[in-house]
Subunit: 83 residues, 2 copies
């Protein structure tokens, strides 16, 4: 069982790293895109004997308490059976 | 049109940041997960007048040339019509 956690900045929170990437892309002459925002992505691998419910609640807890800062970031947890 | 780009370390590449998170999680007494790996996540917003094909090739180029290091990282591009 694998949990995929996506952490993104909330709407309205400034993203200087994303802006810097967008600026680089423009300097390279690539056109058509208007904005790039950076987020984080995590894969949590669970032991074989962990049930789907346990994995879901554990992944949710890890995302909330460790991976994301709920003040400025949103997170989304997705469970997949195999890698 | 929005492109989502997922960048992950290739199998076998050491991930000290992921290991540090895993260690913290263990110290917090959370059990059942065996490994955490960290990756990156980007959202590229395209202008309205850009076709799906253009968006796809531009996102692919940005991912390959700017966002990922192909020596140690894999990337995956996903196009979504609305946010």
């Amino acid at each position: 069982m694998l949990a995929k956690v996506y952490v993104t900045l909330k709407e309205g929170v400034l993203d200087p790293q994303g802006s810097a990437i967008q600026h680089s892309v423009e300097l390279m002459g690539i056109e058509g895109n208007s904005a790039i925002r950076q987020g984080k992505y995590f894969e949590i691998a669970f032991n074989e004997d962990v049930s789907r419910e346990e994995a879901s609640s554990t992944a949710e807890r890890i995302a909330k308490d460790v991976l994301a800062n709920p003040v400025i970031e949103d997170y989304r947890v997705e469970l997949v059976t195999s890698k």
